[in-house]
Symmetry: C2
Subunit: 222 residues, 2 copies
């Protein structure tokens, strides 16, 4: 009861803000995140957020990084005792985990797609895949390409459903204009199946193709 009521626990923290923002993005999309709305969700007034983040964009960056942090990277460690280091299997498992993390939070993908920037989990991810490919024997320039092209494919597959991009309305597909899209209105119903199959097909093709290149480029110089 003394007059100096100073230590009064802070209402906000960076973690609490990021958690609330991620929940809001997941539930209602990027457009629903305004500083006023987010603050209301946290029971404070809008400008309070600026005591913890410099801009709204940095809040979204932090949300993006918290999603990157969920990607499993364990398949890249353990230096493999002598045995042939199976980079192909590791790359496959990593891509599956990467896409799974993104698909759990698809609305934040446009922010993630801007690249790692200074986000620690994004940089850790880039570091892990590049290091693993170099360890596997890929020349550094090729390892960079692999990091990039895998990112293209995973980001593209998570950015938006392919099947869901087609409207669920037969009248939208006039056979005179689009002779081969007679069944396209059915895509929306089977979104997950269609996108999962396309991802696995593409990933297998990508890894098969890279294995061929590996034999030419790497195994040949051994």
């Amino acid at each position: 009861m003394c007059a100096m009521a100073r230590p009064r626990k802070p209402l906000l923290s960076r973690d609490r803000i990021v958690d609330a923002a991620r929940t809001l993005v997941d539930a209602e999309g990027l457009a629903a995140v305004s500083t006023r709305r987010l603050a209301a969700e946290l029971g404070v007034s809008g400008p309070s957020l600026y005591n913890h983040f410099r801009t709204k964009d940095q809040i979204l960056e932090a949300v993006a990084d918290s999603v990157s942090a969920q990607v499993d990277l364990s398949m890249f460690d353990a230096p493999q005792d002598g045995a042939e280091w199976d980079w192909r299997a590791a790359l496959h498992d990593w891509a599956v985990s990467y896409r799974a993390a993104l698909r759990e939070h698809p609305n934040i993908v446009p922010v993630l797609a801007r690249g790692p920037g200074r986000r620690p989990a994004g940089l850790r991810l880039a570091d892990a895949v590049f290091g693993a490919m170099v360890d596997a024997g890929w020349p550094p320039a090729q390892a960079t390409s692999i990091g990039a092209l895998m990112r293209y494919f995973v980001m593209g597959s998570a950015l938006g459903s392919f099947a869901g991009g087609f409207v669920d309305d037969q009248d939208a597909y006039d056979p005179a204009d689009y002779p081969h899209l007679g069944q396209a209105h059915l895509l929306a119903d089977r979104q997950e199946l269609i996108d999962d199959r396309a991802f696995e097909t593409g990933l297998t093709a990508l890894l098969d193709g890279l294995s061929t290149q590996y034999e030419h480029v790497v195994a040949a110089t051994r």
Copy 2:
């Protein structure tokens, strides 16, 4: 002269609005496009736009479709007189043209990434690639997968530069945290080269892998 000055030519048209919007998006990004700003660029007041488009989003959709319309689809026509129809070469050329169109207008890619929806050029593109793959002998479900996975890869490669996603500042890459990113600060300087090489490497791998699948799935059943 006479008092009835009725026919007064309209100041605006859908095309003029779309052209101005595309120019603005290209020059200053999606965030710079506000209805007031766009209207000012066209010499009219903000609400005027609503005589030609129902929402701002539909203006952006129209910009996106005008970019889709620039993708070359000619490699998919001409039914090939008896000879083996080279779907692999067509797919390669199409992917290159697709990516080139997107890279000329990278800021609109997030809108394109929402899928074709009801956009005519987007639907034409989906129709062409699906029809060509079916003609080449792919079963419809596989042709759908190919349309999807190519879209993943091209969208991902156009959504943002891989190399440009890394900051141009050596201090951002502490060797203790990111042991393999010692050269990462150099990526920003060679953006185009690095992204072009990753795209070609990935596309070749993808097509090589699909060719292998084609032999198993299609040629075997002939």
